[in-house]
Symmetry: D2
Subunit: 117 residues, 4 copies
């Protein structure tokens, strides 16, 4: 059940049953994904970093819902483009290993393009 492909298949059915495929162009799905991230951001905007790591139960439940929404649109978008987001994440980690070697990146929150400076 908790396999990405299963989620993507389920979302496709959900969308087809409602005749929503017509709205789900990749462009539109990117906007929907972005709007959901906006809702997540709203929850965190006035919290300190410490507070963000110790959410009360009702806020945590709300955050879980938003994470669900974001994962839904990310999975749908990826499915429309023939991409597995988990596989894409692992590919990106391989790249990041080269861009952020431990020797240079340790304890430093800089973009790799700033290492040269």
């Amino acid at each position: 059940m908790l396999i990405m492909k299963n989620l993507q298949t389920r979302l496709l059915s959900f969308s087809k049953e409602r005749d929503w495929e017509q709205f789900h162009s990749p462009k539109n799905l990117v906007m929907a994904l972005s709007a959901e991230v906006g809702e997540l951001t709203e929850i965190f905007q006035w919290l300190t970093e410490e507070q963000s790591a110790a959410l009360p139960k009702d806020k945590l439940e709300k955050v879980k819902e938003e994470i669900g929404d974001i994962q839904i649109y990310l999975a749908r978008l990826a499915d429309r483009l023939g991409i597995d987001p988990i596989e894409a994440a692992h590919s990106k980690i391989e790249k990041n290993k080269k861009k952020y070697p431990i020797s240079k990146a340790k304890g430093i929150a800089k973009k790799y393009t700033e290492f040269r400076k």
Copy 2:
């Protein structure tokens, strides 16, 4: 390998090796997630919906990278909060089934709060 938990564990190691845990408050991870969605949005902003569904190979490769980045930060954020994003997605689908019954939602891209109108 393509299991969410494995991705989360791998990301935790990646972060710990680089001493990056200090930067990964949920608040900061939400911002990082949001910035990555911004990069994805930039790719799609001037495309028509049709163009967005027929990306040339180099753009598709770039999109895959951004989807990877988004999945990375979503998985990391969820891990910090003890959430499995795939499970959260399925929970949300259950809710959406009630909010968007086929009889009311078919072919209509409205928010459920607008059904009453």
Copy 3:
């Protein structure tokens, strides 16, 4: 020169000279605005709140550029829809005065819908 209408007029000329009006649907301009906010977010994502209030000169210059980009797309979008964003801001402040009366909102960073709770 620093009048919103002048900025909007200048942006319209800039766009027309480049034959870019064809790309500037309100939908696309919203995405462009969102992508620029993503770039701003990236600058701030790993900073503490304190660091964000004491940016070194080069970061501040970068932030100014991003604020410029955001203002550009906000002004363009508003212009396409016949809206003056400064006037819209003042209208919203009038509404916020009612939603957030000083007596209830003082020192509290809650959404007005949470006051009842």
Copy 4:
């Protein structure tokens, strides 16, 4: 009244009266700005480009409110950093004139970094 500086001054009073300055670090204001852009995005996500240019009156009113919110947080953020967003926009247009000369950019929605290709 419709001068940016006046808006910034009014927002500062609004915030001070409510003792909200403590929440308005630049980092937090960036998040608030981003969340408002998310709300704007939600309005446009399923619209075609054509529909986005012909909004019904109630949607247009909602869009005006969101544009107001975005302008509010952009003005506040800029004020905290000593920046005039209109002036920043004009500075950016000067740069864009060089990055996007009419001869190269006419009718082409590409990023300037792609011109070389």
